[in-house]
Symmetry: C3
Subunit: 210 residues, 3 copies
């Protein structure tokens, strides 16, 4: 439980920054930045730890709370320099998704020994913070965007699990898996990569049906 | 802890199918189907287990994860055959609500021995997956619909708890309670059964008040 | 763990009332009132207890469930007498926020001994019930309102933590901290107190950016 923790700090920091960017888009005050950074930064890992039945990571190690506050402060003072905060949010979200898909899978594997649970905790850790951010900010969820999202988290969690089962050293497995997840999501953001969408028809609104 | 588990599998499977139907209405990709099926299928039970302080059911038994994936695949390949996916979603949701109100009450009763807690865990297990589904899909929550919803879950949890306290065998109590909950919700869907609504006036929007 | 519990009951009762008021604004039925009261009343404390890894308070002591039901009944029969339910909701929310910021900080401090964790559990306990209420009712979150909100919760949690570290008796520290938090939020409601908002520009909608 040494170097792999870097992925945890990285996930928390960049997700916290995306939460603060969402706060800036909503023009919240400084405490709103800290709150959104905190919820987004530690939300995914908190759900993961609750599900795995282990102590919540930031209750054990308070540094994570300070990381979120620092990310909020950084964004508060620099967000006006950014041309498109939403695009920056999406790219940071991609990095956080990649880091957290790896760390979530690692922790699921360490705690339960089950590759299947590792896939689920990887995906949940990687996506839940962003879901909370979008719900709290009242924005359309990044989940509903057309390009690849959940699939990138699954690719990262799956690559880590496979590499780990294949006997690679943990940091090698984690680094490869991070690159896999980030590459998939980056391709989605840069080139609009998408899986074939469900090709039927969009849902009607409830009122139209009855 | 034998046959009653059937209600758990049934609840997971049909809620997972409603999550996949919501994904189809939003035209997500295949992984979006699996994600929405998973969150909807295991969301209510996960909350229940966290609240009761017992190991989360799908971490202990991975079959539930596979059930969700199978339900997602089934919906992915057949949803275009359905005339109204939203109406199918509502009916499957009714079956899941009934099954999960019974199983949630049973588990609450087994773990805590308290009928009052059993009512709450029955209602929470039965409703929380659907709430998550609607929030993630950005749809108006099924909770806010005019016809009976939460009341059906309470009827199922209450019928099970009463029948169990009256000494009926578990499967008999569970079957009766399932039918009670499903009948109440089916009446609501088919005939628009509703309790008297609060008869004052709808809320104004925050902007209109200040 | 004696008199301080009064703040817990107070927080549950007034948050439950705000949930029932939200139900009245949405014209739900009587069970909808109870459900919204329950989720809003016990939501924040449930999250707090899960994060701290202690048994969930209302599973241990069922009185809290009955408090929520009583608050729902009271609102159901009297809400039509109120001129502006939304304004009443905001003022009750302020009292609940103050009570729960104190109790959440106290519990965080008792369980972990860490002032930093106490700040976080104070803020989370105080805000999470209201967030759930707004998400379930499909209302714009109180978090996104321009006047001070999260800051009031932090002021309450911080005042309690400081006063406790300074050696004040628990009830004195709690009473002072309650008044601090309530005064800050009341000033925000009555006089529109706000921190300087982030002064850049509001976010564009995702469609406008790409």
């Amino acid at each position: 439980m040494d170097a792999i923790v870097l992925f945890d700090y990285a996930g928390v920091a960049v997700f916290a920054a995306t939460g603060a960017l969402a706060a800036s888009r909503k023009e919240l005050d400084a405490m709103g930045f800290v709150f959104m950074a905190g919820v987004t930064g530690i939300g995914g890992g908190t759900l993961r730890d609750l599900i795995l039945g282990v102590p919540v990571f930031w209750v054990v190690n308070h540094d994570y709370i300070l990381v979120c506050a620092a990310a909020a402060a950084l964004v508060y003072f620099t967000a006006h320099l950014v041309e498109s905060r939403y695009r920056l949010l999406l790219w940071l979200d991609a990095a956080g998704l990649a880091a957290y898909s790896v760390f979530g899978a690692w922790k699921g594997l360490v705690v339960t020994g089950s590759p299947l649970v590792a896939l689920v905790t990887g995906v949940l850790t990687a996506t839940f913070g962003g879901i909370l951010r979008d719900v709290l900010a009242g924005e359309p969820s990044v989940l509903l965007r057309p390009e690849i999202y959940v699939t990138a988290a699954l690719a990262g969690a799956g690559a880590f699990t496979l590499a780990d089962l294949a006997g690679l050293p943990v940091m090698a497995a984690a680094s490869i898996a991070f690159l896999v997840a980030f590459a998939v999501r980056a391709g989605a953001l840069r080139f609009g990569w998408r899986l074939p969408r469900y090709r039927s028809r969009p849902g009607r609104r409830p009122e139209e049906i009855e």
